[in-house]
């Protein structure tokens, strides 16, 4: 664990310090009533963090598709083998950049809950630092701490400034997530304890008992142990992602939280679950992932159709978006379950693009809800004439959500379909049905909001069309979605080698010797050899 330049931990500390700064006396209510100074300060710091992340990514990735890996290690509780290990590799870089971008967008978005003073900015910065930490940590205990820390700012914001039924929603959100993560904590402790034992037997001088890379090298777990521990980890990540049966908390949270926070949660919290599966579960529990792949893919595909169908009949904008998130993430789960290098790379790419798109959708719909003063579709309609800029951006992001080619979500979805078809043709086909339903509910939502006879908007506080900083925010997000859609090669080149490293354990036990000699040189002049195990013979549909 070579400790490179210190900035890696700055990515976590900078927003943290800024958040504490925001609470300082100099930003007190009377000195800075609208919080303009505090907003500038938090924007400044968040901008620097984004720049820093880009710099580190660029520095680490000197030549193309070499495995980028910048890491930093400090002793935290050495006696127990717990270390402050942060690693930025091809897998976590896109997610870290997504976190910085979305936090910057949410901070820059001007309409925050009226009664939220500087606390609003500090909460978002806290959440950003926790999520960044979660994406960087490779020490299981450290990851667990960030995984829990992520929850608190969102919870606080929701409970303080949420909608009418915010307390029940906050409580349900807390209980769902904590029960899941407590199971994971037990599994982590068991792993660490066993790891400590094994390492001491081998007389390792520095016992990284909780570090995922060290743990994955010493395969100490029998297949039943892997099953139990795998299920514990899966419980935590399934609640977070969310995978269908455990999504109870999502509609309430997305309905009650204030716009900025729900954009942040929808864009990032779900991704940590997915990232966790790839980062921790593949290397640590290869047997479990191989056996559970079928069930996971099934849940993913069912999630796509289930989410789409329910989004179809929702009258409340926010719950429609919530169920559409479940549907989109179901697709990523299918990709992750297929565990081929292409499907997982596609899933990571789709997760990042979904983050950008959902954040934008929630912000735009947030502005429309404020403008209309109501949440349900029946009171919307005919807004295209009165807010043309809003209509344009909503159209761009709705089409991106429907995975139109040349948008980033098509690239992700296409890779998942190609990668997962080899493994689970039936589940991929089911997921495709969900995609059609996706087109139906997204366009219905757009039609009921924007088209129809022109109306000025019934909201008492008509917030006017999208202008000023919002146009910059939405423009940046739209530019990111389109450019990732047309030129995704660079990002895919960073993700793919890192994903291959994560899947090494799994491919080893599956392919055995045959896998080793199959060199990845391209037999086909134009397209690569399909990575899935499926040769032509076991393809039966």
């Amino acid at each position: 664990m070579v400790s490179s330049s210190p900035p890696l931990s700055f990515l976590v500390l900078l927003p943290l310090l800024a958040a504490l700064g925001c609470l300082g006396p100099w930003f007190a209510k009377q000195r800075d009533p609208e919080g303009r100074l505090c907003r500038a300060w938090s924007l400044f710091v968040s901008g620097i963090t984004l720049a820093l992340a880009l710099a580190i990514g660029k520095a680490g990735m000197s030549e193309p598709n070499v495995l980028l890996s910048v890491s930093e290690s400090r002793a935290w509780i050495p006696s127990l083998g717990i270390f402050f290990n942060l690693t930025l590799d091809g897998l976590s870089l896109p997610f870290v950049l997504l976190t910085c971008a979305v936090s910057l967008a949410v901070l820059a978005w001007s309409d925050k809950p009226k009664e939220a003073g500087p606390g609003w900015y500090s909460i978002i910065l806290l959440a950003q630092s926790a999520v960044t930490g979660a994406f960087l940590a490779t020490d299981l205990v450290l990851f667990y701490c960030f995984y829990e820390a992520m929850l608190l700012p969102v919870l606080a914001a929701m409970a303080l400034w949420g909608g009418p039924r915010r307390l029940q929603a906050a409580l349900k959100f807390l209980l769902f997530t904590v029960t899941g993560s407590v199971l994971m904590l037990l599994a982590i402790l068991y792993l660490g304890w066993k790891g400590l034992q094994m390492l001491n037997d081998h007389g390792a001088e520095v016992a990284f008992a909780f570090d995922v890379t060290t743990l994955s090298t010493i395969d100490m777990l029998g297949s039943t142990q892997q099953l139990v521990l795998g299920l514990a980890f899966l419980a935590a990540f399934a609640v977070k992602t969310p995978i269908v049966p455990l999504h109870g908390w999502l509609p309430d949270t997305y309905r009650e939280a204030p716009h900025g926070i729900v954009a942040f949660t929808a864009a990032l919290l779900g991704k940590v679950g997915l990232y966790g599966i790839i980062r921790f579960m593949y290397p640590l529990f290869p047997f479990f992932m191989r056996d559970a792949a079928w069930a996971l893919a099934a849940l993913g595909a069912i999630g796509v159709v289930y989410g789409a169908m329910i989004a179809l009949v929702q009258r409340d904008v926010r719950s429609m978006l919530a169920y559409s998130s479940i549907s989109h993430l179901g697709f990523c789960v299918l990709g992750v379950a297929a565990a081929t290098e292409m499907a997982v790379t596609g899933a990571v790419f789709q997760a990042v693009s979904h983050g950008l798109i959902t954040a934008a959708l929630f912000l735009v719909f947030g502005r429309i809800i404020d403008r209309e003063g109501a949440r349900d579709f029946d009171s919307f309609g005919g807004l295209a004439a009165s807010i043309p800029v809003g209509a344009f951006f909503l159209m761009v992001f709705s089409l991106a959500a429907v995975a139109l080619p040349l948008t980033s979500s098509f690239v992700g979805e296409f890779l998942i379909i190609l990668g997962a078809w080899g493994e689970f043709p039936q589940w991929t086909a089911l997921a495709l049905v969900g995609v059609v339903l996706g087109a139906v509910y997204t366009l219905t939502a757009y039609l009921r909001t924007m088209f129809g006879p022109a109306r000025q908007g019934a909201g008492t506080h008509a917030a006017g069309d999208i202008s000023g900083p919002e146009v910059v925010v939405l423009g940046a997000l739209a530019a990111a979605v389109i450019s990732l859609g047309i030129f995704p090669a660079g990002v895919l080149n960073t993700i793919s080698p890192a994903v291959e490293v994560q899947l090494a354990g799994l491919t080893e036990i599956q392919g055995g010797a045959a896998r080793a000699q199959l060199d990845l040189s391209k037999e086909q002049p134009s397209a690569g050899q399909p990575d899935g195990r499926g040769g032509a013979e076991d393809q039966g549909v």
Partner: protein, 626 residues
């Protein structure tokens, strides 16, 4: 980027730039929108012409716009590929497209959103060109969904009317269902053959990797994609509703270009389609059914645009008949000639509607020959062309299709070939009848509408005139040269030889002439027989009227159940199981808590007894331990 690549990428990039420019410029000077947009399409047309001259010598061009999804194991760049097949399609799209752009400059002049209109129209042409020039299936898919998007935007152009917006949504969703087929085909082909390159998929050794089951799946999936886009049964009900859009849109998208994308796709990957003989058989029967249904429905339509819409669906059925018979070049020729006369029909219908102050119902028209001579002549020429009367364009391609059906070599279809060709001829007669009926109701007799119709301005009549000429000349000038020109990418056409000379020409155009005569007789000469025929055919008429109740059937089979099931799933699964589950856990813990409280009775004796019991238990445990 040597000259070939530059011109090729210019073909596609010109409309894209044109779209943005016409929107920005058009907002300030509405007049300029039409000019910029038409100029952009003209540039593409000229570049296509230059490339076409190169392609005639068998040369192919390719240009890579972006290394799209190429990393580690896979490389799928956005690459354009110009060979003879895409040359023909390019010329049709840009040529007819340019004429329609000029026409719509006049048609949409007074509309408020003219800048937005031309932006979408240019974007559509760009998407269609990407579709036609794509080297790999994903690039074709980009164009495929791009045209779907533009047709959604253009159909719902006047979005203040919810009905029009719903029609746009219907079109997009039905296209989307077809696109799922496209995605499935791509997934199967990639996983099995390892490549998605169009040229690769033509090679026998690559196709050999497909197991028979997969070949069937891939072939049918491709056909599902084609039905979604080219409006075959069951995914055709969106086309008549798409008439909600402005008429130039119908002309460009729903007559000349987008709807023919399905046939182009079949031609492009004909290797996969022909692998399993069952696929062409399915195509044949579906195409025949579609042609029959559409032709009969068109008989009783009174809205001029609806008649043309159903006739398009019917003609597309004809093209797919040629595809099923394995004669892709013949289908392509019919695409070309159909583009000419159908675009001319739609544009002249547009002029009529423009003239009669947006009146679309033919019963309120009539006798427009006097008021709109040029439009009437062009409409008449195209009617004769579509009916397949000898010198006109329709004859050559439609006759080739009929003979292709007769000479089909597919084992599954050889038996039924004679019956299919009889049906096709009957449908050809039916086409002639409804087209002549529409001509008679609109242009002959006395004017039944209010106000007084006026001839369309020059900017509209000139393109209609050019298309009229093309639909007359296009037949004998272009059909045979095209068939020989596209031999490379498409298999050579082998039609059964029939005797040359004037006799075969007359015999060939008999169905057309007979149809026109029948319509003339019923329409003008004998109103009483027409009335009797209508009463006798009344029940059948209502069936045709309601499009064989396809709309209601689709609604009943798919849309309503999905909505009902979704509501049930939402209430049953989501509310009761998922939410209920969480709630249940809460109430169970509360109940257990209450039970535990019962023990504190307040009586000292109870507590002492419990202590005593505990002591006894502990005592007996420890006494065993030692």
């Amino acid at each position: 980027m040597e000259s070939g690549d530059l011109r090729l990428s210019l073909v596609v990039l010109a409309p894209v730039v044109g779209s943005v420019a016409s929107y920005l410029w058009g907002r300030r000077a509405p007049k300029m929108a039409g000019v910029v947009a038409s100029a952009a399409v003209l540039i593409s047309f000229i570049c296509s012409l230059m490339l076409w001259s190169g392609a005639r010598g068998g040369e192919t061009f390719s240009a890579a716009l972006s290394s799209w999804i190429s990393y580690g194991g896979i490389s799928l760049p956005i690459e354009l590929y110009f060979d003879s097949l895409s040359a023909v399609m390019c010329l049709v799209v840009t040529g007819v497209g340019f004429l329609i752009h000029v026409y719509s400059a006049g048609y949409m002049a007074k509309d408020a959103g003219v800048a937005r209109f031309f932006a979408y129209l240019n974007l559509f042409v760009a998407a269609m060109l990407i579709l036609v020039l794509g080297k790999t299936l994903p690039v074709i898919f980009i164009g495929w969904e791009g045209v779907g998007l533009c047709s959604y935007l253009l159909i719902g152009f006047w979005f203040t009317d919810t009905e029009y917006a719903k029609a746009g949504r219907k079109a997009f969703v039905m296209n989307r269902i077809g696109d799922v087929g496209f995605l499935v085909a791509m997934a199967v082909l990639y996983t099995a053959c390892g490549t998605l390159d169009v040229v690769e998929l033509g090679r026998a050794d690559v196709l050999a990797r497909l197991s028979p089951a997969l070949a069937l799946v891939a072939g049918l999936a491709l056909f599902v994609a084609a039905t979604g886009k080219s409006a075959q049964i069951p995914l055709f009900t969106w086309l008549p509703d798409a008439m909600a859009g402005p008429t130039p849109v119908s002309a460009l998208i729903h007559a000349a270009t987008m709807v023919t994308a399905g046939i182009y796709l079949m031609g492009r990957v004909h290797g996969v389609v022909e692998l399993d003989p069952l696929v062409p058989a399915v195509i044949m029967w579906v195409a025949l059914a579609t042609a029959a249904v559409a032709a009969t429905t068109a008989l009783v339509q009174n809205d001029i645009k609806k008649v043309l819409a159903y006739s398009t669906v019917s003609q597309l059925g004809f093209m797919f008949l040629a595809v099923a018979a394995g004669q892709y070049a013949v289908a392509l020729c019919h695409v070309v000639t159909h583009a000419f006369f159908k675009a001319c029909l739609f544009l002249s219908a547009g002029s009529v509607i423009h003239g009669c102050h947006h009146e679309q119902d033919m019963r309120k028209m009539g006798g427009l020959l006097r008021h709109m001579p040029v439009t009437a002549i062009c409409y008449g020429a195209s009617t004769l062309a579509i009916a397949g009367v000898c010198p006109f364009a329709g004859y050559y391609s439609k006759h080739a299709i009929l003979s292709a059906i007769a000479g089909v070599s597919n084992p599954l279809l050889v038996g039924a070939a004679p019956w299919i060709s009889y049906c096709a001829t009957a449908i050809a007669v039916c086409t002639a009848v409804y087209m002549a009926r529409s001509f008679i109701m609109t242009f002959l007799g006395s004017y039944r509408g209010s106000g007084h119709p006026h001839e369309a301005p020059a900017v509209m009549t000139v393109p209609v005139g050019i298309l009229g000429v093309l639909s007359v000349v296009g037949g004998f000038l272009l059909v045979h040269p095209i068939e020989s020109f596209v031999v490379g990418p498409l298999p050579a056409t082998s039609l059964p030889q029939e005797a040359g000379g004037v006799v075969s020409l007359i015999v060939g155009s008999l169905p057309g002439i007979f149809g026109i005569a029948l319509a003339a007789y019923l329409g003008m000469a004998a109103p009483r027989e027409a009335e009797a025929a209508r009463r006798w055919l009344a029940p059948l008429g209502r069936v045709f009227e309601r499009k064989y109740y396809f709309d209601e059937a689709l609604n009943f089979l798919f849309v309503a159940p999905i909505k009902r099931v979704s509501r049930v799933v939402y209430r049953a699964v989501d509310q009761s199981i998922v939410e209920g589950g969480a709630g249940a856990i809460g109430s169970v813990t509360q109940a257990v808590g209450e039970l535990a409280c019962r023990i504190t009775t307040g009586q000292v004796a109870t507590y002492v007894l419990l202590m005593f019991l505990a002591a006894a238990a502990l005592f007996s445990v420890f006494s065993q331990v030692r």
